[in-house]
């Protein structure tokens, strides 16, 4: 063991004395910093886009309606004018305004007129309590069953009881909104239990979990919870920017480290052959297996050191760009029906480790080819191809050749983050399945590298 550590120290010294290593580290740092600034700008820009529903937006819409004169345009103009006059842009007042104009018809009965008056008054006076009380009364007259009444009125009752004014962007009011919507959806689904299967079943479970988590937040007064970010450029990015959003978006950049780790793994054995130093390495009283193991251990450690470096850069950059106030936040997950708080950095570390599996597998492939072929160029080439072109091969097998055994290939299982989010190419390809397939591949890589290196005639 001590010998292995000394061998690893040797390998670290070799890497650290090579200029190329430091150039790669600097490139990673630069990419991380640039990516942080890029993410920050993107989130800020996408938020300014949502302020379209502002005063000028309303005026633009009125103009458009007047030009086109669609059916019922006068009513819509009237509604927009009301929004402008009362400076209503979002939140409950926007909802109430919409409701009010829905009620307005040419032949209104007395009760409807009464309702409209109440709503109008509450909007004009910004009296949310009045509006919420009205909603409770109104729901009680619409729904006959007590369970329906309870679900529909929950939002209003909870806000009134706890004196939580509904303001967009205030976390409590946002959580209440989310909860209310989820509760209503769950109740709808439960009305026809036989439809809760497959995709709908998954959605149902997710809703139940989100209800549990949000109730826990309200009970325990937890303003912020750390979440994964599913970055989709079609759906738009996250709405706010902070340290955790930065870290969540940063997961996408792990493959950049992967490229550098492949270069290191591809060279660490082959370079000894190409420079002739392998002879001086192997005439030492150390079994070849140990030398190989020390080199592999260094590749893996360097991978994780770079990952840690990246994690730290994103934390610091996220903090510098948006402040560090949420740094102590936790993630809330439902485990065995109970809400569990996991410190944010631990939770994110888990996400990063999951994201690094891809990189480690590819580095192992490069390492194996490197110790078999004595050529770092071939090793790096093969691994890069596997990393970039693998998904194409995968697609061809699945969609063109239509073979099912593609699921057992390394390419179909390498994107473990996507698979764990449920986006797998093959049906029934779970995270566990993918990890098992990758583990089998890793063992084959190790044995091949070991056999090739130990028996190699130098």
């Amino acid at each position: 063991m001590l010998k292995l550590l000394r061998l690893m120290k040797n390998e670290f010294i070799k890497l650290s004395l090579k200029l190329s290593t430091w150039i790669m580290v600097i490139i990673i740092l630069a990419i991380c910093v640039a990516y942080s600034v890029g993410c920050y700008t993107m989130v800020k820009n996408s938020n300014s886009y949502s302020s379209y529903n502002s005063l000028t937006g309303y005026e633009y819409e009125i103009e458009y309606l007047r030009d086109t004169k669609q059916d019922g345009w006068e009513r819509q103009v009237e509604e927009l004018q009301f929004l402008i006059d009362n400076k209503v842009f979002d939140g409950w007042r926007a909802m109430a305004t919409h409701e009010m104009f829905e009620l307005k018809t040419d032949s209104m009965d007395k009760a409807t007129t009464e309702k409209i008056n109440i709503i109008k008054k509450s909007i004009e006076n910004s009296d949310w309590k009045m509006y919420y009380q009205f909603k409770i009364d109104d729901n009680n007259s619409i729904y006959s069953s007590s369970s329906d009444r309870e679900v529909q009125n929950w939002r209003y009752k909870y806000s009134l009881d706890n004196e939580i004014e509904p303001i967009v962007g205030e976390w409590k009011s946002d959580v209440i909104d989310e909860l209310a919507v989820a509760k209503i959806s769950v109740q709808r689904m439960e009305e026809s239990p036989n439809t809760i299967t497959g995709e709908a079943g998954k959605q149902y479970n997710e809703l139940k979990e989100s209800i549990k988590i949000n109730e826990y937040r309200l009970e325990n007064d937890i303003k912020y919870s750390v979440k994964d970010i599913e970055l989709s450029f079609i759906m738009g990015g996250p709405s706010t920017f902070d340290v955790w959003v930065m870290l969540g978006m940063g997961v996408q950049l792990i493959s950049t480290i992967g490229l550098i780790v492949i270069i290191i793994a591809g060279g660490i054995v082959a370079s000894e052959f190409s420079s002739g130093t392998i002879k001086f390495l192997l005439i030492n009283p150390v079994k070849r297996g140990k030398i190989l193991a020390s080199k592999y251990a260094v590749v893996v450690s360097v991978s994780f050191l770079l990952l840690l470096l990246m994690y730290l850069v994103f934390t610091v950059m996220g903090g510098l760009l948006s402040g560090f106030e949420n740094i102590g936040a936790s993630n809330l997950s439902v485990i065995n029906g109970k809400v569990v708080e996991i410190p944010g950095f631990l939770y994110m570390a888990k996400t990063y480790l999951l994201g690094s599996i891809n990189m480690i597998v590819m580095a192992t492939l490069a390492f194996t080819v490197s110790s078999l072929m004595r050529s770092s160029a071939i090793a790096i080439g093969v691994s890069m191809f596997a990393m970039m072109g693998g998904s194409i091969i995968d697609m061809i097998l699945k969609e063109v050749l239509r073979v099912d055994w593609g699921r057992y290939l390394i390419f179909s299982n390498i994107d473990i983050v996507n698979i764990s989010q449920g986006n797998s190419l093959y049906e029934g390809q779970t995270q566990g399945f993918a990890i098992a397939v990758l583990a089998v591949h890793m063992v084959i890589f190790w044995l091949t590298a070991w056999d090739g290196f130990v028996r190699r005639e130098v």
């Binding site: 004395l17 420079s275 001086f280 192997l282 009283p285």
Partner: protein, 316 residues
Amino acid sequence: MPKSVLKVENLNKHFGRRQILHDISFETYAGEVFGFLGPNGAGKTTTIKIAVGLLSLDEGDIKINGISIKKDFEGAIAQVGGIVENPELYKYMSGMQNLKQYARMRTGIDQKRIDEVIELVGLKNRINDRVGKYSLGMRQRLGVAQALLHRPKLLVLDEPTNGLDPAGIKGLRDILKDLAHKEQISVLVSSHLMSEMELMCDRVGIIMNGKLVDVKSVEELISSVSGEFVTYKLKVDNATKAISLIDNVNDDNKKIIDETHIEVLIEKENADNVVSNIAHKLITNGIKLSMLCPAENKKLEDVFMEITKNGGVQIA
């Protein structure tokens, strides 16, 4: 009886279907420089690579200080230091950093020992320079330093004089002789430069086509070929007259080279008497004798050519 350090026993090695080594067996002892001589492709480097653990062996065994390389690889190799082919060390490191790398892979080497070895090979002034800037001679010295770090019982050098200038060769030769004769290390040196071997080695093993042809001390080897006779050269004013006057030598053993030169083969045993008789006879008969001397001894080079000729060598 000197102590046996390297013992090669019935070594066989194949590359694919081609047999490279046939039943090689020999021993080297503490305190001697053993030369491993043979033309290119004879199997010198293959044997050496097996002895330092770079190649596996098919049959037979190698014991270093009594430890079998098959049974206890790490234990056996811990007794060996070596340079195989060129001294290719890490060019981007300094000489010192290189030595520290190797020190970490072996046991019981402290900074004092490293300094000692640097002093021994005479690299003290340049040890902190990058190896990339070293001359071949300096790299060879650093290679030797690397090989000596862990106080090996056996030092193996493959073609160590390749590419060195005469001064470098002399320097290396002195270091190796000192190590063997003073420190009682067994030194194994391979080469195809016979003249070099003659100056450096105590004993020589000749290998050809993967077979060990002969193992002898350098003197033994030379005399074994030249036999019981010594050639003497004479310079006279009249060769024809002079040769007829030499009557104490068989006619077969004397010949005229040209008008003034004669060569005579004289039995070693009685050489002094025969030579003085010849001189006396020629001078008293009025021949002007201006030179009478033994021809130069046969060199290892000639011995080697002769042995390989007799063995019907065909260099592949």
